[in-house]
């Protein structure tokens, strides 16, 4: 743990203050110069912009949509367990496989464009149009992650006492009112949790981009982690890549704190306390489930 965690963490700060671009074997100490270079780097700002577009698209979808899914699979229908497992399959299949499967759906003469043509709609350049590619990737990420959050909501729904619904029935509440006034407040802590987990995942998005678009077309899908990867392992400019990594870490910290504060019913301290007590893994996969 010390060797593979704390040492690299200290090194990360050191590398972020060194210049590797001239001689990779003999880096020179340059202080904060890499950070200054970052602020002047258009590709860096572009990757930051893409990351935030991704974040603000994916996180609300991840917080809201799985609630509907969870309500749907919460019934006592026959065979519901089978439906739940099948819906869960995209979560367990690895991102690379999912990316390849969707690249095939997104192909120019692929299945999705055929579906559009059935409805007499024009073809879409899913992964080849710079204005659309990022959104296409976001769709895949939401598609893959939704069932994971569905299960979190479902667990919470099943802990909700039926009495509350019965009381609402007696008060003559409609189905919509019941969910708005009973279900939603009950799910609020889970929503915060889902928000935090999917924010962390979104900020680290990489594999899905690498598999489907390689950051293209014309850099329109390059995210922050993609930028770090490219700088470090393709350009071998480890200094600036590390500086960008530190920026990523700070953004993550700020967002996690913001979202804990945003939780209306519970203050940050209580949420932290909860995180400590809970058995729920915060990071379901190594890079977080987006």
């Amino acid at each position: 743990m010390v060797g593979f965690f704390f040492l690299p963490l200290v090194m990360a700060f050191g590398i972020s203050m060194s210049d590797y671009s001239h001689n990779i074997y003999n880096p020179a100490f340059v202080g904060l110069e890499n950070y200054a270079r970052l602020t002047h780097s258009a590709p860096f700002w572009n990757s930051l912009k893409n990351t935030f577009v991704f974040l603000f698209g994916v996180v609300p979808a991840m917080v809201v949509l799985p609630i509907f899914l969870a309500l749907l699979v919460n019934g006592k229908l026959k065979g519901i367990a089978v439906f739940r497992s099948l819906i869960y399959i995209p979560v367990v299949i690895s991102m690379v496989v999912v990316g390849i499967a969707w690249r095939w759906l997104y192909a120019d003469d692929g299945l999705l464009n055929w579906l559009l043509s059935v409805f007499h709609l024009p073809k879409v350049g899913w992964l080849v149009s710079p204005d659309i590619a990022l959104y296409s990737v976001m769709i895949v990420v939401v598609w893959k992650g939704m069932a994971y959050y569905m299960m979190m909501y479902l667990a919470h729904l099943q802990s909700l006492s039926q009495d509350l619904y019965e009381a609402a029935d007696i008060d003559g509440a409609s189905l919509w009112q019941k969910h708005w006034n009973v279900t939603l407040p009950h799910l609020r802590p889970t929503m915060v949790m889902v928000g935090i987990i999917s924010t962390i995942g979104s900020l680290k998005v990489f594999t899905e981009i690498y598999v489907m678009t390689r950051g293209g077309p014309v850099g329109s899908t390059k995210t922050l982690v993609y930028y770090i990867y490219e700088r470090a392992f393709e350009n071998l400019d480890l200094g600036i890549a590390s500086a960008a990594g530190i920026v990523l870490m700070l953004i993550l910290l700020v967002f996690s704190m913001l979202e804990m504060k945003l939780s209306p019913k519970e203050d940050a301290a209580k949420v932290t306390e909860k995180v400590k007590k809970t058995e729920t893994p915060l990071l379901p996969t190594r890079n977080g489930a987006a």
């Binding site: 040492l7 099948l86 819906i87 367990v92 991102m95 058995e279 990071l283 379901p284």
Partner: protein, 276 residues
């Protein structure tokens, strides 16, 4: 009536969830004469054949991809469970100086993204010769060691151990057990479900991991499945039948694992959500 509607919606959702993989299957089963871009699309292959599966197996070192993925995943699971238990045991069941400081610094590691650590880790692995340039064993170790233990794993096991009653240990001490014997004979059997869930998490994280293996590995026969598939995709970019076949093959172990151990996949997402 309402039930029928629910079944219809659920079936549509299932179709949305597995449809992309079924389309991959349909593509992989099509023979050399069939046009995969046919309009309208041919969902059921006219002459289903396994040819593409055989071809992809022969054209790329698929067998090695499987072996590498399996070895790396099993080693990672083994290390994660062993080290998490050994670290969590004193944290949960003993009192010593600096205990809280250690516990919270372990928790803090969960806040640091791997992407920040990967560059220094890469330099460390180069120094220690833990890349596949020094042979496949070194490559495996380079893939496993950085993930041998995680703050999350220690935390997860600790939370399970903390809840067990103190009397268990006391009676074991009376029977003459030392601490390792207590751990092995008394405590571990009780937290088996937790360990199974941890194993599933380690499996999920390692089996699908792409970023780190793509940095550490360079020789195709040393690739794990995700890296191998990405390479397959770029090497045979126009041969979608081949890509589809290779991709499907790689799904088989995951699906078996999932349907066999489903319980633990789902408890992972739910157990704490209720109690939390």
């Amino acid at each position: 009536m309402k039930k029928t509607l629910q079944y219809i919606i659920l079936s549509l959702l299932v179709l949305a969830a597995v449809g992309p993989f079924l389309w991959l299957l349909s593509t992989a089963l099509k023979g050399p004469g069939e046009n995969i871009f046919a309009y309208p699309p041919q969902f059921i292959p006219q002459n289903p054949t396994l040819e593409n599966f055989v071809n992809v197996w022969n054209k790329v070192p698929m067998l090695w991809f499987f072996i590498n993925s399996i070895v790396v995943t099993l080693l990672t699971i083994f290390f994660n469970i062993t080290l998490s238990v050994l670290a969590a045991y004193p944290l949960a069941r003993m009192r010593f100086k600096g205990q809280n400081a250690i516990f919270f610094s372990i928790l803090a590691t969960m806040m640091i993204p791997f992407q920040v650590l990967m560059i220094p880790l890469y330099l460390i692995c180069l120094k220690l010769n833990l890349t596949d340039n020094a042979g496949i064993i070194n490559g495996w170790l380079g893939l496993v060691l950085p993930f041998a233990v995680s703050g999350f794993g220690i935390f997860f096991v600790r939370q399970a151990l903390v809840t067990l009653p103190k009397e268990l240990e006391e009676s074991a001490v009376l029977d003459g057990c030392n601490s390792l014997q207590i751990l092995w004979y008394v405590l571990l059997p009780l937290i088996r479900p937790t360990l199974a869930t941890l194993a599933v998490f380690a499996f999920m994280a390692t089996w699908g991991e792409f970023l780190w293996p793509s940095i550490i590995l360079s020789e195709p026969s040393h690739f794990t499945l995700p890296v191998g598939l990405v390479q397959l995709q770029s090497a045979f970019s126009s041969d979608w039948k081949l890509i589809a076949a290779g991709t499907l093959l790689s799904m088989v172990p995951v699906l078996i694992f999932f349907f066999a151990l489903q319980r633990y996949f789902v408890t992972g997402a739910t157990s704490g959500a209720v109690k939390g």
